[in-house]
Symmetry: C2
Subunit: 203 residues, 2 copies
């Protein structure tokens, strides 16, 4: 990813917050011939420092878990909010008209060494943690223990976990840092009007 210095975000707490707020990410792999992408919810675990670990699971019938462990590290893309920025929002427009459209967005790219998780107990523990995390806001929260144990056992046989030990976390926060203070204020107002609350907060 092309990241000019003024758009780079490296504070771990901000990168982690984006990954937790947008856990449905894109797992990109290379099988030696072609690019492959799968869309999956991920657990981010900050251990071990400094980068942490990502975990997800896929259908056993999905060949992606057999492609891991090669020379090319998988890339996981977490996409935050994004919004079209019309030049009409810029304060500068009225003065110089030297403005063009762009997109503002926030993304985290995570790379690391991947391996399959194929033992049922680790996999069950992962399902419980992922479920509890997604159900945290619900009343009452659904729990894995609500389903019949033999049903869960059967499902565990039909999936494979993927664990990625991260070696690199890069954040690109493209949120008008390269604009004047007046332009930033007018873009912020535009984003708030457009309902892009996350981008507005980040600005």
């Amino acid at each position: 990813m092309y990241v000019p210095a003024h758009f780079e975000e490296s504070r771990p707490e901000l990168l982690q917050a984006l990954m937790r707020a947008h856990p449905f990410a894109t797992l990109i792999t290379f099988d030696g011939a072609a690019l492959n992408a799968n869309h999956l919810p991920f657990e981010f675990d900050p251990e071990p420092a400094p980068f942490g670990t990502l975990r997800c699971h896929v259908a056993r019938a999905n060949p992606v878990w057999r492609e891991l462990g090669g020379k090319v590290q998988p890339l996981v893309v977490f996409q935050g909010e994004h919004a079209y920025i019309t030049p009409s929002w810029y304060a500068t427009k009225a003065e110089t008209h030297k403005v063009v459209p762009t997109y503002n967005y926030m993304v985290v790219h995570a790379q690391g060494t991947a391996r399959a998780i194929d033992d049922p107990e680790s996999l069950r523990a992962l399902l419980v943690r992922l479920t509890n995390s997604f159900e945290a806001g619900r009343t009452p929260p659904w729990a894995v223990a609500d389903a019949p144990p033999d049903f869960i056992d059967t499902l565990l046989n039909a999936i494979v976990g993927i664990e990625i030990s991260l070696t690199c976390l890069i954040g690109k926060w493209k949120i008008s840092q390269n604009r004047s203070t007046a332009d930033q204020a007018s873009v912020l107002a535009g984003l708030q009007d457009a309902g892009a609350a996350g981008l507005a907060r980040a600005m």
Copy 2:
């Protein structure tokens, strides 16, 4: 991408509608050693049939345009709406409890042969079309001609276009097609409550 037959969507009009509704996509490339992803707004042109053409532009300083034309075709991922599906929504839950969480989502993966667009007139025409498309809903719409011509000329020197002649378009519409009619109805109601209007419409 792993696409079980019941989740595959191949109708061109639906794939094109998703790409047009979610034009801010992820351009995934392989430079011979590592995976790379850039986040860019794309123009989808249905010509030539059957798959059409994607076009975008990047900063000239972004090395991605120099990596095109290799053996590995770039992959462009257009992501539609996605939403966590709690088991609590399923009608089946009350009967058998044989339910687990999932995500519903809609994505289009586009692959093809890429080349750089480096002549200023083609690039200017692309900027005009992209701008007009993004400004179509605004009153008054901003137009490239609103900016000083020498300012636009300078910017044209700082960017490079990318054109991808598509050879493959795959859609995955994971919208509970594998659930009973009763479960589909209850998920639809859940998605509507959760504000996931696009997924609810697609169901």
